[in-house]
Symmetry: C3
Subunit: 267 residues, 3 copies
């Protein structure tokens, strides 16, 4: 898959509206800036009609969800749908409390999402497949993740991306596996949240959502992989900062050189 | 302009009250600490009478404004005025939604600000001059920024500082242009927000608000410039962290050596 | 004191529930991840019954307290007590406003804490001993900190840890002084807040709370000390990031080698 998406992204510099939390807001904003995008992080209910109207994508992150945020998300999501901009859902820790379980039902019934991106535990929850979640971390399980991605994609008629040692991306029919990445991603906070925002940014580039999501996940994984090349396995602080550097330096040629994916057409 | 403001700042170590947001709170706190100041970031309505009474300056940042924050800002601003400590306004993204447009009217009518610091789009909005804003970023336009700074300074009887490739500082009469800086500032989040806090810190040093603001903006721009000297143009992560180092290392002698400003007395 | 606590911590990977603020949430999460733990930062009232039930410790941080947070803390604290998991209190800036003074009374009367960790000003306030606090920073005073730690430990029947140039840890009877550390800790934001979370993580390892708190404070101080070894006194940005690296690299052997403590049995 040869693209010039990163170049296009830096030229376009889309405004990305993120509704997110106190843990990752700074990192998501810096990550988007590193890719040449402009972040807006507003979550004030009074603005949620207007902000999606000036943005090119909306990314909704359920980490640290509360009733105020939920109301903001619903209002922004509906506005984004009305304005025909792509909407990404990051269902952080979705299964761990009744409040999140109920909230995601509301979000999924009232907003049309173009992409749901989460870790294995989160997407397994949406597929109603058994999985040992661990708080907001991926936990462990032995279900078939590519089938889970496909199932959830069909259920919600959108792209689904499961991030982990291998990333699985499906549109309900095709399934792509991304083997790029680094073991340092789960050792920093917000690496998944930033990826959701990066996917939102890529989705502003066209209508081929599956390919754009795949390219976003691959590009991000490669930025992480390149960052780790110069680091030892436990330099978490250096990785946190170096990932921003490498997102800023990343170009399509590098992505093409490193890409290690497996694409399957489903029967 | 030869000063020993940085030395004085480190000796005094003023307490700076910041009402700000989830994106930049951490960076603003670390930046102030790097300059020898003590940050307080409280925004609880219950405390807004008392906190300005123990602080030496108040910095109000409109990024991620909501009704709760607005009430806190009003209460803290009035307390700061009563306690005669300098108050800085950072009108983040002021023009982009009706809620922010209405809120800034309330803030500007109920609080006396000593300094308004923002990017070109934000200050142009206050001057009612046409400008292509881009979310919370500076956007683009071709109005005369020095005249805009002067106009807003006269309108609100305060110092105005516009940050960008060139910084413009005006008290309604004098206009200073600061040519120091780096192209990396707009590539990280919160670089303007931290500058507003740094201006608040400098304003605790005396009554000559124009000179203190000019020195704050110049010093900060030089810290950025020195940080970039050892970096390539896209090491955004290294710049983010290196700016803190160079704020911690900065001294008056270095500022004097690097200072590149143009000062005009208006007729 | 020879332990294998760090090894045990990395093997166990406990889930630590933190109720904290916009300034330090990101750093606390990254610090816990660097030690092999999993952070959850939820503060939604709707979830506060459930979250402590899936976690191994709760850490309550009073920085930027508001009425919503207070309600969350009370609900989570009671749930943690019911679930018999350790609860840590970080009484950030406790004495500086009436709201915080009243709130801590409520917290201390309704929740049983296993550990209270703060700076000299905060613990002196709890001991009703005179101290010149400086916002949320330690300020200065000349009271006997080991006696203050002991007094507060007896008063609230818990472990007390005072962080500073020397750390004092007491269970009301024993007093330990930790001489490890670095002058860079007070120059970054959240260094104390992260230590509180690290103490919470160590307290998941057993019932010997005094020894575990002592080992947590010593280990953390040593990680800071090792970070400073390669830095000059004002590289605050590098220290901020390097501390995460050194928490990720830290092992029991290193802690044992560096440990510099003084343990006193009280009569």
């Amino acid at each position: 898959m040869q693209t010039n998406n990163i170049q296009k992204l830096r030229q376009k510099g889309p405004l990305i509206h993120n509704i997110t939390n106190i843990v990752v807001a700074n990192y998501v904003a810096n990550g988007l800036l590193s890719l040449g995008c402009s972040p807006i992080m507003s979550n004030a209910i009074e603005e949620m009609d207007e902000i999606p109207g000036i943005c090119q994508a909306l990314v909704i992150n359920m980490g640290m969800l509360n009733t105020y945020q939920l109301e903001s998300m619903l209002k922004a999501g509906k506005s984004a749908n009305k304005n025909n901009i792509p909407v990404v859902l990051d269902p952080v820790g979705v299964g761990i409390t009744k409040f999140r379980q109920e909230s995601i039902n509301t979000l999924l019934s009232e907003i049309k999402f173009d992409l749901i991106r989460g870790n294995a535990a989160e997407i397994a929850y949406l597929a109603q497949v058994n999985w040992n979640s661990k708080g907001v971390d991926a936990g462990s399980g032995n279900a078939d993740l590519s089938q889970i991605a496909k199932k959830v994609a069909l259920k919600y008629n959108c792209i689904v991306s499961i991030s982990g040692e291998v990333d699985y991306i499906s549109n309900g029919k095709k399934i792509a596996e991304v083997y790029n990445g680094t073991s340092l991603f789960p050792k920093i906070t917000g690496s998944g949240c930033l990826l959701s925002a990066v996917c939102g940014a890529f989705l502003t580039l066209g209508k081929n959502k599956f390919e754009l999501t795949l390219n976003a996940c691959t590009s991000y994984a490669i930025a992480g992989q390149i960052t780790q090349e110069k680091l030892s396995d436990n330099e978490t602080g250096q990785f946190y900062i170096g990932l921003l550097d490498n997102l800023a330096k990343l170009d399509d040629k590098t992505v093409q050189k490193y890409t290690n994916i497996n694409l399957k057409e489903s029967e």
